[in-house]
Each structure stands twice: as structure tokens, then as C-alpha cells.
């Protein structure tokens, strides 16, 4: 028996009323918990889907360029010197940035032009065709170009090539064809469907092989990077990369990036707004119910005051009752909300590439947070209770 016995017993006294209040508050918590876990999963799968748009940051060597513009005539950019990036240094630099976790893929590339002999065609045209060959690291390139759909398959060995749609059409290449390149025989393992980008006009091969044959061992022309981050601005990632690779020019395709962020932020803001409204309604319910409780219990409170309970004690008793309700609603609500969102998300088939885990720490946080929120909603009724004058409460029967 101590001061907490009073609110504890009072909550038990009216189980129906307490249950009803608990139910409303719990419903609020349930919807918030479901919305939040729904948003986490939705955000995750949205991010997954957004990858389909390919790279959004480009890393180039710094090139000395002189813009020639004279008398209103633009003569374009004159490149005075072609420079290369050092593969090892750039990859190490990017790997070391603080937001590396938000960088999904980094794909280094070296571009060269080489003569390709196509057997059968050679006799007809009588000449080799020059093609652009892009050296890539396949495991990385596939992450960035996950919208690619090759006929045939991706190259697996360095003797295999992937041909862009346009170049394949020009040279009549099909998956399984053998061609001559870099003075050796190679297999066209796949041909890309049209992408509408520069990828259509080139042939992709193993990076090391291209470097070797272009005489640029360990060198790169540029890198494509796919980065996305729900909470941090892409500008930060770009700045970090600039600091990590000072001799490179880093450009973000801002529009693409911002568009992606916008859709994520919109979803989370919407969910936040809905959660806040629900929480506000739940708080108002608790506050109103506590207020009517206080009015119903005027005489009890007057009695406590007449026995020497201070205003502060009365205040505490009402607040603690609110706290108890909040903790109970938080606990029950989190559990139900967790189960409910798992069911809903499962039914919507959204749990395929994301998962929800029941975390005791989150349960504790939910109890604590809603305990505090409910206590806060009880502050006004508690204050009112503490103002009750014992004489008026006891005399006016």
C-alpha cells in the first residue's frame, strides 16, 4: 500500500470504462505502429524499385577545359588533355566516405575503340568495324543497370561480351556469336534490349581486359554511382565523395535524385501527419475522460485533501493514472500493431524484400512514449483535481 494503490485500484474499479478508454487509446497506438512499420517497409521497397532508374552520380577526371565563346559564337569545349582516374585510389576513396551505406553501387568504366571482326560479315563488307568497347566490372554494373534485360545472358568470363542493341543490329550479332576483338576470339553471350541510352551503341566487356588492350592498366574514364538515402540529402554524399576523391569531378543528376527523395518524403510526411492526428485524438480522449473522472471524484479528492494530502499528491495520483493507461495502451497497441502490420503487409506482398522484427526495445519505447503522452494529456485534469477545495467538495452534497 502506497500512494499508487489509489490510482491502481481506481483503474480496476471501472473495468468497462477503463477498457473502453484503453481500447480507444490502443487503437490509436495500433494505427500509429502499423503506419510506421508500413512506412518503413514501403520506403524500403520503394527504394528498391527506385534503383531501377540507374545511376545518379557520375565521377569524371578533372579535365582542363577552355570554353571558347567569342562574339556570340559558341565553339564548344576544347579538351586540352584527356585524363584518367586511378581505379584503386578512386574506389578506395569512395568506399571510405561516411555515407557509404547509402551508396548502393559504384561501377568503374574504361572506354576504348577497337576493331571487331564478325565472321561471315567480314567477307561481305570486307572490313573490320570499329566499335566502342566499355570495360566494366560485371557484378557492379549489373547492380547499377538492373533495368537491363539482355537476350542470352550476362558475360561470365573475360572472353565474353555483351552487345548494345544498336551495335548488335548494325553488325548482325546474336547471342552465341563468336567475334574477333583485341586480336582474340570472343563470345557474344548476350544482346541488350533497346535502352534508349548510350548503352545501345557500345559493346561491354571485362574491365581488366579492356584496360590491358587499351594500354591503360588500372585506369578509368569515369564511374557511375547509384546512391539513395531516405534521410540524408544527396548533396552530402556528393560532398563527401568530392573530399574523398579530390582529383575527380563529381556530378549529381539532381533532378533524378530529388524526384526520388520527394516521393519518399511525401509518403513519410503523409504518414507522420496521419499518425499525429490519431495521436492527438487519442490524447484528447484521455484528457476528456480524465477530466470527467476528476469531476466524478470531487468528493474523493476533497476527502484526500481533508486528510492532509497536498495538492501535489492529488496531482500525482491523477497523472499516474494517465501514465498507467498510456503504458498499457502502448504495450498492447505495439503488440497488436506489430501483428496487424505483419498480416497486412504480408497480404499486400510487401514483405518480400523487407522484414519486420519484433523488438523488445521498441516495445519498451512504445510503452514509455505513450505513457508520457498520456501523462501529458492528464496534466490539465490533474491540475484541475489539485485545485479542488475540500470544503466545497465535501459540503455540496
Amino acid at each position: 500500500m502506497n500512494i499508487l494503490t489509489i490510482p491502481f485500484r481506481n483503474i480496476r474499479r471501472k473495468p468497462a470504462k477503463t477498457l473502453l478508454l484503453l481500447l480507444v487509446f490502443t487503437l490509436g497506438v495500433v494505427s500509429i505502429v502499423s503506419l510506421v512499420s508500413f512506412s518503413r517497409v514501403a520506403r524500403h521497397s520503394l527504394e528498391q524499385k527506385l534503383w531501377a532508374f540507374g545511376p545518379n552520380i557520375l565521377v569524371f577526371p578533372k579535365i582542363e577545359q577552355i570554353r571558347l565563346s567569342y562574339g556570340g559564337m559558341n565553339a564548344g569545349n576544347v579538351t586540352t588533355d584527356v585524363r584518367f582516374l586511378d581505379e584503386r585510389a578512386v574506389l578506395a576513396g569512395i568506399d571510405a566516405i561516411p555515407n557509404r551505406g547509402n551508396v548502393r553501387a559504384v561501377s568503374p568504366k574504361l572506354v576504348t575503340v577497337a576493331a571487331m571482326t564478325v565472321p561471315g560479315k567480314a567477307s561481305a563488307s570486307g572490313a573490320d568495324s570499329n566499335v566502342g568497347v566499355v570495360g566494366v566490372l560485371w557484378d557492379r554494373e549489373k547492380l547499377i543497370k538492373n533495368y537491363w534485360m539482355p537476350q542470352g545472358r550476362y558475360p561470365e568470363t573475360e572472353e565474353e561480351l555483351l552487345a548494345g542493341h544498336a551495335v548488335a543490329a548494325r553488325l548482325g550479332l546474336k547471342p552465341g556469336d563468336r567475334v574477333g576483338l583485341f586480336g582474340r576470339e570472343m563470345l557474344v553471350s548476350g544482346v541488350l534490349e533497346p535502352t534508349g541510352s548510350d548503352d545501345d551503341g557500345v559493346v561491354f566487356g571485362n574491365l581488366a581486359l579492356v584496360q590491358e588492350n587499351a594500354g591503360r592498366r588500372g585506369k578509368l574514364n569515369f564511374l557511375e554511382v547509384a546512391a539513395i538515402c531516405a534521410g540524408c540529402p544527396i548533396g552530402d554524399i556528393v560532398d563527401q565523395m568530392r573530399a574523398a576523391v579530390p582529383d575527380a569531378e563529381i556530378t549529381a543528376m539532381m533532378n533524378v535524385v530529388e524526384q526520388r527523395m520527394y516521393s519518399l518524403d511525401f509518403v513519410s510526411n503523409l504518414i507522420l501527419a496521419v499518425s499525429l492526428i490519431i495521436l492527438f485524438i487519442a490524447c484528447a480522449m484521455v484528457g476528456l475522460s480524465m477530466m470527467s473522472q476528476v469531476n466524478d471524484r470531487k468528493r474523493e479528492i476533497g476527502l484526500l485533501r481533508s486528510m492532509g494530502f497536498s495538492k501535489g499528491r492529488v496531482f500525482q495520483i491523477v497523472c499516474f493514472e494517465g501514465f498507467l493507461l498510456g503504458v498499457a495502451a502502448g504495450g498492447i497497441g505495439y503488440t497488436i500493431g506489430f501483428v496487424a502490420s505483419e498480416k497486412i503487409l504480408g497480404a499486400l506482398r510487401m514483405l518480400e524484400d523487407a522484414s519486420l522484427t519484433f523488438e523488445p526495445a521498441h516495445l519498451a519505447i512504445a510503452c514509455g512514449v505513450f505513457g508520457l503522452v498520456s501523462t501529458a494529456s492528464s496534466l490539465l485534469p490533474a491540475w484541475k483535481a489539485s485545485r479542488i477545495e475540500p470544503s466545497e467538495a465535501l459540503v455540496s452534497i
Binding site: 500500500m1 502506497n2 500512494i3 489509489i6 484526500l304 481533508s306 495538492k311 470544503s391 465535501l394
Partner: protein, 221 residues
């Protein structure tokens, strides 16, 4: 020892003034049993409320063992109510969700510190003293009116108060039960407890050491 001098209390309602107490002076010695009689509306309850600190008078002074109530701050007033003053009302105000023993121990439940074993035992003895041994764990709803009033009296006694204010403690009870309650209260004055009791009943009033009659906000005898 409680001394009141020149107490005045005026209520204002709907523009009219009701002089509930006019220049009332009364002192009660330790262990004295004072009964207040008078017609309905004569100001008995108001006087009791003023004497028991539940109401502040508009004029006059009240001293508890020489300490002026008007000069006490909220904390001193709470301490006075907790340690020296006990109250019993016509309608036994018990908390309906606490058991008999918890209701008796209620004055000790004003902090996070659990009520000590000693105090629980003391509350038990108070309950036995009012004849409720064996009914400690019943809720008020499971007790008769007289039994509930006994619980209220046990609660008033548990803090070892110096003065008990009782406003028609037998008002809602039948004659026989009322008489038992009366004897119970009378018994406590032997331990040095002062009692100020409002009653309409002449028979009960005669149990007191002194009967004070009120009329129209004044003491007339």
C-alpha cells in the same frame, strides 16, 4: 486545545448575502467533548468546516495549540490536517475501491513509501476497536451503513489526531447503531482526544461534556 475568536463567515449567492457565522467564539480543551446543536441552517456545518480548516473564515482567528491558522501556509495546513485533525462526515466518505483496512490506512498512503508493517498493524487494531475484526478485506459496498461509519471512525483515529470533528456522524444510522457509534466516540475522549460533534439528536448531544446551541449564525448558550 483549539480556540476560536470572533469568527465570521458570509456566503454570497445570487447577489444575496448569507451570514452563516457571526462573531462566533469557542474553545475546546484537550479531551473535551463538545456537541453543537441547532436548527437546520443555523451554521453548524459551517462552523465545523471553519474549525477543521476546510474553510477559511472571513474574520476572526483560530488557534491550534496557540498556532494561528491564518498564518499557516499550504504545507503547514496539510501537516495540521494530516497529524492533528480527524474528520467524520454524515455520509461515511470511504473510497469505494479500497478495502476496509486500506481505507483506514489511507492517511498513511500519501507517499511512494509503502505503509509500514507497524502502521498496518495499527490500522488493524483501530478496525478491531470499532468492532470490525474479520471484515478488514471487505469493500465498502459489502458493509452496512453502520459498519461503513465505523470504518470512517477507525480512519479518523488511525493518525492519533488531537481533535475529531464529526458532522452528524449518526445522521444516516438507526437509533441503536447511532448509540453504539456515540459510545465509541465517547470512549476515545478518555484517551485525550477532543471531539466537536454536530448533532440534531438531544439524546446524543447529552453524551457530550458541553452542548453549544447555535441560532442564525450565533452561539446562544
Amino acid at each position: 486545545m483549539i480556540e476560536a475568536f470572533g469568527i465570521g463567515k458570509t456566503f454570497r449567492s445570487n447577489g444575496s448575502e448569507i451570514h452563516a457565522l457571526r462573531d462566533v467564539s469557542l474553545s475546546v480543551r484537550d479531551g473535551e467533548f463538545v456537541s453543537i446543536a441547532g436548527r437546520s441552517g443555523s451554521g453548524k456545518t459551517t462552523l465545523l468546516n471553519v474549525l477543521s480548516t476546510l474553510m477559511r473564515p472571513d474574520s476572526g482567528t483560530i488557534r491550534y495549540d496557540g498556532r494561528d491558522a491564518a498564518s499557516m501556509d499550504a504545507r503547514e495546513l496539510d501537516a495540521l490536517r494530516k497529524n492533528e485533525i480527524a474528520m467524520v462526515f454524515q455520509f461515511h466518505y470511504l473510497l469505494p475501491y479500497l478495502t476496509a483496512i486500506e481505507n483506514v490506512a489511507l492517511p498513511f498512503m500519501d507517499s511512494m513509501i509503502p505503509v509500514s508493517r507497524d502502521r498496518t498493524d495499527h490500522a488493524m487494531r483501530c478496525l478491531s476497536r470499532v468492532g470490525l475484526k474479520g471484515k478488514e478485506h471487505r469493500l465498502p459496498g459489502q458493509l452496512s451503513g453502520g459498519e461503513q461509519q465505523r470504518v470512517a471512525i477507525a480512519r479518523a483515529l488511525v493518525t492519533s489526531a488531537k481533535i475529531l470533528f464529526a458532522d452528524e456522524p449518526t445522521g444516516s444510522l438507526d437509533k441503536g447503531t447511532g448509540r453504539e457509534i456515540m459510545e465509541l466516540i465517547r470512549g476515545f475522549t478518555d484517551d485525550g482526544l477532543s471531539v466537536v460533534m454536530v448533532t440534531h439528536d438531544r439524546e446524543y448531544a447529552s453524551v457530550a461534556d458541553r452542548v453549544v446551541s447555535m441560532e442564525d449564525g450565533r452561539i446562544v448558550v
